[in-house]
């Protein structure tokens, strides 16, 4: 991945930002690259797609990765996909758990290491959810809603619904009365469950896992529509680090997680069945949506 490519992607990031976030990504770009390469630590980025507010979960993952790779692992959490993706592309983290949508957007700069398997598959769905008592059958009934998205760079939490609206010819500025970005799938569920938003777009995996963990909250929402099966948010690295010993150890640790007791403990906390080698075809659906919306986004 050359400097030119990084600049191109950064320009896109800046356009989507209303603060200096994009600029800071550029600033930390060179600085972070050298930092990740110099020390013996392994920096691993996380996005809100996971239940990263669970400290025990993070601690268990960190412990496993340290044991499995032999590196001192530092978990790096950021609020938005944009920030984590920027860290990954700029090399400030060695690897990161990102979303399929940023992967498709920055495919040239990223290389997939592994994809989580949920119920034995590397696939998940996007759910369009509403309040339990909401009288609605499909997206057309959601006109004039306050709608909660997870993140503008989230596949399940934005892209799928945006694509659906596009298919129906709905303009987001007029179809919804207001849109919210909650920067977390759990927050989308909270927004809809509380009534702040009348509908929301959420990661199906997160919704299902939270239904087990927080049934009181999630049961105040219901699924209006499930999307097609799409590629599960993958673990990626910057193409700059691809093939390095550290990245190889990270990939092996992920793939072997189901074969290790400590790893199974991590998987249990994530409610996953394991990690597998990437199957690029799983992301074709996301790529098609991105392609379809390229002109309007």
């Amino acid at each position: 991945m050359g400097e030119l490519a990084l600049m191109r992607k950064s320009t896109w990031l800046s356009r989507r930002s209303f603060t200096g976030g994009g600029a800071s990504c550029l600033f930390f770009g060179n600085l972070g690259a050298s930092k990740a390469a110099q020390d013996n630590s392994l920096r691993f980025g996380l996005t809100p797609v996971f239940l990263n507010n669970d400290l025990q979960l993070l601690e268990t993952l960190k412990s496993y990765l340290e044991t499995a790779t032999g590196y001192s692992v530092e978990l790096v959490s950021r609020r938005t996909y944009q920030e984590v993706t920027a860290l990954l592309i700029s090399g400030q983290v060695d690897g990161a758990w990102i979303c399929g949508y940023p992967y498709i957007q920055f495919k040239d700069d990223l290389e997939l290491l592994a994809v989580p398997e949920w119920n034995g598959k590397q696939l998940y769905q996007s759910y369009l959810i509403v309040g339990t008592d909401r009288n609605a059958d499909d997206i057309t009934d959601l006109r004039n809603d306050i709608h909660a998205f997870s993140d503008p760079d989230s596949n399940s939490g934005f892209l799928v619904t945006r694509s659906l609206m596009f298919e129906h010819g709905f303009q987001p500025e007029t179809f919804f009365r207001k849109t919210l970005y909650t920067y977390g799938h759990r927050n989308v569920i909270r927004a809809v469950a509380s009534g702040l938003a009348q509908s929301g777009s959420v990661d199906g995996y997160v919704w299902e896992v939270m239904l087990e963990m927080e049934p009181e909250l999630v049961s105040r929402t219901r699924i209006l529509r499930k999307s097609q099966w799409l590629g599960f948010p993958p673990i990626a690295t910057s193409v700059k680090f691809a093939g390095s010993q550290k990245i190889h150890l990270l990939q092996t640790a992920l793939i072997d997680m189901a074969n290790n007791a400590q790893g199974r403990q991590v998987l249990e906390l994530f409610k996953l069945t394991g990690f597998g080698l990437p199957q690029e075809a799983n992301f074709d659906g996301i790529a098609q949506m991105v392609s379809k919306l390229r002109e309007v986004l």
């Binding site: 306050i146 909660a148 207001k178 919210l180 927050n187 909270r190 009534g195 702040l196």
Partner: protein, 484 residues
């Protein structure tokens, strides 16, 4: 007609108890008012500071989100900053933009984003000071959201003030209960103390009431009632009073007896004179009979003389006997007693050529319950006094009038009127002590009248002099009345 209620009619012991209770209630009311006032101020300050810190915290956290009208961020902040361990909990927080449109609220269903805040809710808020509504147990606070000294929105917060109001209510209840208990205890303590303090006085009072009824008894100074020296001193003083009174009574009795004997002596001397006067004539008659007894005419005249003389002596002796024989003292008063008194006094009257008119309104069968002895004594004293006060040849009066329930005896003189002291002695407050100087006879009359529950009156007599009336209550004996 019943008299109006007066506190003075309540016994002292209850008055003191009531006073203690009222005082304590007053003190309690003042204390309660002060405590609640102070508590209210403290709670207001606490509520204001707690509310301020919450609202200021929210304000600082959401100002940038308010600019961006980011409803989720505002909602998330409201959710996260909601305190749970304070005495007041914000139960409703609403954030609006400058135009008054709701951006986010803790209860989005009730106050949806992009809607307008209801006017009736806005009216509950008053400037920046917190307002507590006792009716709803809620507190209301609004605050402008400032960004770079410009107003960009408003925060409306409704707090649950139930805990504070309950605390105030609990304090009030505790104060009332505590004060009521303390009041009751103090009132009861006051009652016991006053009762203990007043017990010697009550003992004294009961003994004095008994003394008034003529059953005066000394108080045992060594008894459990005389616990302190003041009570003992009081009892000793009372006992001394009783002793002195007894002594005075004995002295009075003795003096009265002496007076009776003195009057008896006086009458005896007069009687002796009355007996002695005819004795010369009688002895002459005896000599005449002895010398000229053969002459029937002379003898008969002498015998007649003897008989008249002896009859006169017999009348004098009979009157004296009727007056002073003890067995006749208590027999019921009869009409003969008035004639006896007239007979008894007649020698005294003769000496001064005075006349006594006896008028009695006494049916032959009438009888009453009055004892003859004291009444005769009183009449004798009054007549002796009337005789002494009147001039020679005066016409004295002894009049007896009878009504259904009383017997009125009037003694009239022809003197210059009774001295004020004598009138006071007869009609005024009874004097238990003996009068100084003369007037013992009238004092005895007053004592007798008192004993017989009789009323004495002094009125002027037509033609000069005074009339002393003694109205005696009587109980007519019906069988005798009917028999009459």
């Amino acid at each position: 007609m019943s008299r109006p209620f007066s506190l003075l009619r309540i016994p002292l012991i209850w008055r003191v108890t009531l006073a203690v209770a009222l005082l304590m209630i007053l003190v309690s009311a003042v204390i309660t008012e002060r405590v609640l006032n102070r508590l209210g101020t403290i709670q207001q300050i606490y509520l204001q500071s707690t509310a301020d810190s919450y609202v200021n915290g929210v304000n600082a956290s959401i100002s940038s989100s308010v600019i961006n009208e980011d409803s989720w961020e505002i909602f998330d902040v409201l959710e996260r900053l909601k305190p749970t361990n304070t005495a007041i909990v914000p139960i409703q927080t609403i954030v609006t933009n400058k135009a008054g449109t709701i951006l986010a609220a803790t209860d989005p269903v009730k106050h949806p984003s992009l809607s307008q805040l209801p006017e009736d809710l806005i009216s509950q808020f008053s400037s920046t000071a917190i307002r507590i509504s006792s009716e709803s147990a809620l507190a209301f606070l609004e605050r402008d959201i400032q960004y770079q000294d410009k107003k960009i929105g408003k925060i409306y917060t409704v707090f649950d003030a139930k805990t504070l109001l309950n605390e105030r209510k609990e304090v009030l209840t505790t104060l009332i209960l505590t004060n009521a208990l303390v009041t009751a205890l103090l009132a009861f303590g006051g009652f016991l103390t006053v009762r203990r303090m007043l017990r010697p006085l009550q003992t004294l009072e009961s003994h004095m009431i008994e003394a008034v009824d003529g059953k005066a008894q000394k108080i045992l100074v060594g008894s459990s009632l005389a616990r302190n020296w003041e009570a003992r001193r009081l009892f000793r003083a009372y006992n001394s009073l009783i002793e002195a009174d007894e002594q005075r009574r004995e002295l009075s009795f003795k003096l009265a007896e002496e007076e009776r004997l003195a009057s008896l002596g006086r009458l005896s001397s007069v009687m002796a004179h009355e007996i002695n006067n005819p004795l010369g004539g009688l002895l002459n008659a005896v000599d005449t009979i002895r010398k000229h007894g053969a002459n029937a005419q002379i003898r008969d005249r002498s015998v007649d003389l003897l008989e008249r003389g002896l009859q006169g002596i017999a009348e004098v002796v009979r009157g004296a006997l009727a007056t002073y024989r003890p067995d006749r003292q208590s027999r019921p008063l009869g009409e003969g007693d008035f004639h006896d008194v007239k007979m008894l006094i007649s020698p005294e009257l003769r000496q001064r050529n005075q006349k006594l008119d006896l008028e009695t309104d006494w049916d032959s069968g009438f009888a009453c319950n009055l004892p003859s002895g004291p009444v005769r004594q009183a009449m004798t004293n009054l007549l002796l006094n009337a005789s002494a006060a009147s001039y020679d040849h005066a016409d004295l009066l002894l009049k007896v009038k009878r009504s259904a329930d009383r017997l009125q005896i009037e003694v009239g003189d022809r003197g210059g009127g009774l001295p004020i002291e004598s009138v006071k002695m007869l009609t005024g407050q009874i004097e238990k002590s003996l009068p100084a100087g003369k007037g013992l006879g009238l004092w005895v009359v007053r004592q007798i009248a008192s004993e017989l529950d009789a009323k004495l009156e002094v009125t002027p007599r037509a033609g000069g002099g005074s009339i002393i009336s003694m109205a005696l209550p009587i109980e007519v004996k019906p069988e005798i009345e009917n028999a009459a």
